[in-house]
Structures are given as C-alpha cells and as structure tokens.
Amino acid sequence: MNFSEILHVAWEGITANKIRSLLTMLGIIIGVAAVIVMIAISAGTEATIAEQINSLGANLIIVTPKRGTPGASRTLLYDDAEAIAEEVHGITGVASEQTTTTLIVKSTDTALEMTATGTTADFPEVRDVPVGDGRFFTQQELDRTAKVAVLGYGIAIDLFGDADSSGADPIGQTVTIGATKFTVVGVMAEKGLVADVDYDGRIYIPITVVFQKFLPSQMAADRVRTIYAQAESQETMESAILQIESLLARRHDVELDSPDFVVQTQQDIISAQEATTAAFRSLLAWVAGVSLIVGGIGIMNIMLVSVTERTREIGIRQSVGATPNDIRWQFLTEALMLSLVGGLIGVVAGVGGSWIFGASGDMRTVIVPTSIVLAFGSAAIVGVFFGYFPANKAAQLDPIDALRHE
C-alpha cells in the first residue's frame, strides 16, 4: 500500500465510528489545549514581571557588593558611584542607595516604624520613579547634608492623611526620623509594588545624611548598598558595563575575574525572577503532560477494543494479501491520525482558550509558538507510542484465527 492508501484506509476506520473517535480524541484535545493555555498564562505572568522590572528605569545597570567575597577589603562606596559618574562614558545618570536601620518616623499625629532610603539626586530619573508633588532633593542639598525628605505616595497618606480629601498638604511639613527633623520637599507619584518592593512605602532622604546619622558605627561611613547607572541607550549598555567593571576592579584593587562586586542588568533580574516561576511552570507542564498521557492511554484503550472488534476485518484483509506490516501501518496510522486530529483541535482550543482568558479575565496570556509545536509534537509522539502496541497486536493475528473470529 502506498502512503495515500494507508491514510485513506485509516481515515475510513476513524470516520466509521465518529462519536467514539471524537471521545477518544478528547483526552488529547484537553492535553494539548492545557499545555498551550498553561504556558500562555505563565508566559503572560513573566511578561508582566519583565515589564514591571523594566519600568524601574530603562537601560539600567545595577551594581551591588558581592556577598561573601573572601578577603574583600572594601565594599561599594559612595566614591565609587561618583567615580562611575565622572569616568564612565555612555551613561546619563548615576544614583546610589543605602537604607537606614529601622527607625521611628513621626509626623505630628502618626508614628511608623520603618527604614528610610538614602539616595542621590538622579534617583527619580535613573529609576524611572517620578515625583508627583513638589520636588526631589538636589545635589546641593546632598552636598550640605540638608535634612530634607521625599515621601512615597502611600507613606504621605499614612503620615498626613489623603491630601485629596481632608488631609493636609505634606509639602513643607516636618517629619521626625529617628531623632532628626526633616522638611518634606516632595511626594512621589504612585508606583505600587514592583518585584516585591513597595515603592509607595518608602521615604527618601539624602544618602549623605544616612552616612552621617543612621549607619551603625562599625560600618564604613560611606558604604552604599546599590549603585544604579543609566546607560544612554541599549547599544551603550555593554560598553558601560565593561567600563564600570574595570573601573571598580581597579578602585577595589581586585582581579576582574574575581570581583568583590556584581554588575547586573534588568535582564539578569528578570531571568532570576523567571527562575522562581520556573518551578511553578514545570508543575503546570507536568499536569498538562499527564493529561496527554491519559489521552494516549485512551487512544490505546480504544485501539485495543477496535482491533478486537475488527478482527474479522483484519482476517479478510490478510486473506487477500495484507501483510503484517500492512495491518500494523493501518492501525498505527489510525492511532496517529486520532492523536494528530485531536492535537490540531487541541491547538485551536488552546490558542482560542488563551485568547479568551487574556481578553476576559485579569489574567494576562502570551501565546508561545514553541508551546504549540511542543504540544502538537507530544500528541504525535503519544499517538505513535500508545498506538504501536494495539497495531502490533493486530499485525500478529493469524489469518485463519482472525477469519474464524465471531
């Protein structure tokens, strides 16, 4: 038999029992659709995370001390940030950050226990966290350790009430952080929770003030936790990173291949975030994979029933010259066809389902083309795998026994 004849015979076998064929395919349909929908949902979640992280400043380079570097004599210092700003080409701004210990923050009628974030004047620009009301502090204020503070959107409400309704305008008011009084000069625009950081729950003060007042005495006085540098463009990123690395290696007197600092981009952080969702995704993949296998067992079951039911047909075909191979191919093709047609319907259902999920719910979905290939390919493999045993059983029937079958 040639290929088109095999296909034709298999197709007739399937269409001879349409309802049963459809029910048999259901397992594969659900399995394939599940793979596509689940991957679309997790890809959607990842895309959202990636966007949020990217929203924290475009072309951002993040420098942090490397934890546990043996014999690292120095960590990241404020001077390092200034050196980067002065010497590295292709960057538009540098901001450094250091957090205070937990302190009491008070307005006239509210007290909160929290940390304050010390940073530099470029912060709103570099991190893409704009000021909503008033202004951020300036380089001059930084240089003269001015006691000024900028409140996160949520903290402003916590301390002074909702400015839109009954609350007072926080700008110009005084907050007490620890034992020091600060003048509020600005309130940040609303930003929300991004990558587990509540940007609305922060208070920003000049980093120089943190060095002066709020660091434990055993710490180097101008130690920073993070330096952010913004590259001019995507193209200058790589060169900027190389410059920063060699500059810091030189300043810290370490070898480039064993630095005491880490230079990252948002992409690195996104990848790290994705690693945490990978476990979840692999669980989904398992669930979907299991349903595909269940679908395959369904196909095997029906094919076995079909081989038994059609034993006489097999005998007739053998009596006029069908070889074991002809019979094997006939049933294998039938199984494969069931799984491929089921796979095709599953792809349509999966893509449609992902689209409906994305369009109607608050769940974001991104249809991943490789998931379609993966799901469809798995369906085909399942078809061959679970179709082989029944097909082989059919092929091994003795013509005379098959013909005698009632």
Binding site: M1, N2, E5, V9, A16, R312, E313, G315, I316, R317, Q318, S319, V320, G321, A322, T323, P324, N325, D326, D398, P399, I400, L403
Partner: protein, 244 residues
C-alpha cells in the same frame, strides 16, 4: 500430463493441541492437482476438509509435510511471504463470503489490488479492473451496493469477483454454496464452471454430491486422510449422511 502441477503436497499433517489432547486434523495428505482441473473435496464433517483448504490457501501452515504451489515450495515461508502468495497466486471463496461490511462491492473487489506489492496501479485503474470483474460475474449494476444490500448469491458473486481480480493461478472455494438456496447454488456453480471453462483451476469443498458430480474429479477425505480420489465423475465417497 507432464506439465507442472499447480498443487503438489507430500504427507501434509496438521496437529491441533499438544500431548494427550492432540488431534490430527490432517494425517498425511498427498495430492497433486494440475492446471485446469476442477476438483471437489468431499468428506464427513470434521474430516479435515477446511483444514486442508486453509493450508492450500496459505492461510494456515502444516505442522509437517511439504506443499509446492505452482512450482514454489511454500511450506516454510514466513507470514509476509505467505501474504504475498495469497495476494498474487490465490483466490479464496468462503462459505460466509467474508466481505468487508459497510464497504461497497466495488471497494471489496478492489481490496486485493490494494495489497499488490508488485503492481502499483492508480486508483482509476483499480476501479476499472474491479468494475470489469464485477461485470464478469454479472453484477455490473451492483457496484455501489454494500454487502447488506445484496442477496447471498450476489454476495458470493462479489467474493468470486474479488478472488478473480488478481488473476490467480488457483481458485479455492470452501463450501461456496453452503449458505445458499438451491437456485443461487446452481447460479454460483454455473459461474464456477464458466470460470473453469475459461481455464481457471478450481478446488472446491462441498457436501452436496449433486454439486460434486459435475466436477471432473472428487477427492474424498476421511479422518484427515485421502480416502479416495476419483476422476471423471466417479464418486466413491461414502454417502449419504456423511455431511451435515
């Protein structure tokens, strides 16, 4: 006659079961059938006629003995090779027709062509051949009927057309009229005689002496052995009551 026989068997044995319950359905059958013969096989029920036919038809293999079909020793061929022999050299007609249900007469007749590994014919060619075969058995107007839309005699004609389509060297018929009334039986027999006249070699199992006596040669089987082998209408089978 010095021509090569179509069938030449030597001491065919077929044992069913093992040990104490072993049954010798065939117990040393040696027959020779030449091209152009029309042979009836008779014998009581359970004597081994169908067993012999199935072996001659390459549907089954003997436990022992040799079977040479048209010059080719087929006793030790594997399943694939036997399938090819059935396809090219043999046409089998069964008592119960053995047509594919829910499949038209045309497609049933085309079936052997589908499994012909030597000749790859187009679908049109195969259809044409099947139509011709159906016409030759008088069913030109029934090509698109399915078996459940045909009478018993018509079904057997479809089966005969299917057996003929590959131009086999040998036609084997195991009680071809066993399920038919006498009118249809005679029609089928007329058709078989017609085919014989056109040069076909036919071996047929039958229970009816009436039908057997019109064939040139009657082989009588009893207890798995050839009891008698009479030519030219002679019928020395122990009758009647041997059949069912």
């Amino acid at each position: 006659m010095n021509q090569q026989p179509i069938i030449q068997t030597a001491d065919l044995r077929k044992i069913y079961g093992m040990g104490d319950i072993a049954v010798a359905a065939l117990d040393g059958v040696s027959v020779r059938i030449d091209p152009g013969e029309f042979v009836s096989i008779m014998g009581p029920s359970g004597s081994g006629k169908s067993t012999l036919m199935n072996i001659l038809g390459c549907l089954d293999r003997p436990t022992e003995g040799q079977y040479i079909l048209a010059g080719e020793d087929v006793s030790n061929l594997d399943k694939e090779q036997l399938a090819a022999i059935r396809n090219r050299k043999l046409g089998f007609i069964f008592q119960s027709y053995n047509l594919l249900s829910r499949t038209t007469a045309l497609k049933n007749v085309m079936l052997p062509l589908l499994y012909d590994q030597d000749n790859h014919r187009s679908n049109e060619e195969r259809e044409e051949m099947a139509r011709a075969a159906l016409a030759s058995v008088g069913l030109a107007d029934r090509v698109n009927h399915q078996p459940n839309e045909l009478s018993g005699g018509q079904k057997q004609r479809v089966a005969i057309a299917r057996a003929l389509i590959n131009n086999p060297a040998l036609l084997l018929a195991d009680e071809p009229t066993g399920n038919l009334d006498s009118k249809s039986s005679y029609e089928i027999m007329d058709l078989l005689h017609d085919l014989h006249d056109r040069g076909n070699t036919i071996v047929m199992v039958t229970h009816e002496p009436d039908i057997a006596k019109h064939t040139q040669r009657v082989i009588c089987v009893r207890d798995g052995q050839v009891e008698s082998d009479g030519r030219d209408g002679a019928n020395n089978c122990a009758q009647p009551g041997a059949g069912d």
